[in-house]
Amino acid sequence: MVAVILPGNASCQGCPISMAMRCLDEIENPVLVIPAGCSTVIAGIHPNSAMKCPVVHSPFTAAPSVACGLSEAYKRMGVRANVIAWMGDGAVDISFSALSASAARKDDYITIVVDNEAYMNTGTQASLSTFWKARTTTSPAGKTEERRNIALLMLAHRIEYAATASVGYLRDLKRKFRKAGEMRGFRFIHVHAPCPPGWRFPSEKTVEVARKAVMSGAWILWEYDGEFRLSKEGERYALKENRIPLREYLKQGRFSHLDDKEIEELEKKIDEEWKTILKLF
């Protein structure tokens, strides 16, 4: 029962990040590098720590560089450690050029992105991975910009392992963590993490919302380890008739302003994304 993360930490009720952090047990000898964000708060205030593994807090832009340096140092000292750059989607926006360069150099560490689709720690400002038309404090009428698919972008760097996962399917997520932990080279996992206060839904619905995202096709589960494939849990939603109506997923406070026409537009965007993914085989 005693895991990498200890109970009584500062995460909100129903937090998807602490759910994903508990799955770090699957990775051997984890060393976390955490740029500022919700995860920093969860890791605790000095002299207490909620984590049982070494944690390095780093500035936003430096997280990939710090992780790269740490993993090289461990290698020279002969310590077999899995350095993990654990960041949110905000830190990905800010450290993107360092992350991209690091992926191109094939540095030896794991990047895990817990994507709650906005800058939640500072009060829900829109990020590049915020869902289309979602309401945030910087897009009060719904986000108009495009949504960036960071996992596909990292895949384009020809890295060793890239995957998307969801806190609604923890067995799949644990399998991907385990697989990444056993590999070497640059590994990237993108975890979908529905945030109850930021997306405005009751705290007990975290898992349900995460599953509905996959079931409606809004979040696609796939992995790449030399060959590209859809994950078993989300495979059947490639066919449109298997999906649940998108309306079911959009039952969140941040989408309450949408009308029928806008929902149709969103469905079209999701179909386009699936088309791209299905061409990658």
């Binding site: 002299p47 720590s49 944690v55 009751p202």
Partner: protein, 79 residues
Amino acid sequence: MDLSPLIAKPTYGSAGETGRWRNYRPVINTELCIKCGECMMYCPEGVISKNLIINYTYCKGCGVCREVCIQKAIVMMPE
């Protein structure tokens, strides 16, 4: 130089006794429970043990366990 005060130590309850945040208390109905372990796996706080005893000192009462329970064996009682 003694560096030990500079190093943070792993502590239970690093944010205090988080059980005090709770409005509703999850209670497992042992007659309905089939010990599948879903609640244990999905609990964000990790307070449900292998023999399905809930640590109420740190349970924040989010209710995720009730939602993932296939048997509907968990009820949320008002504190």
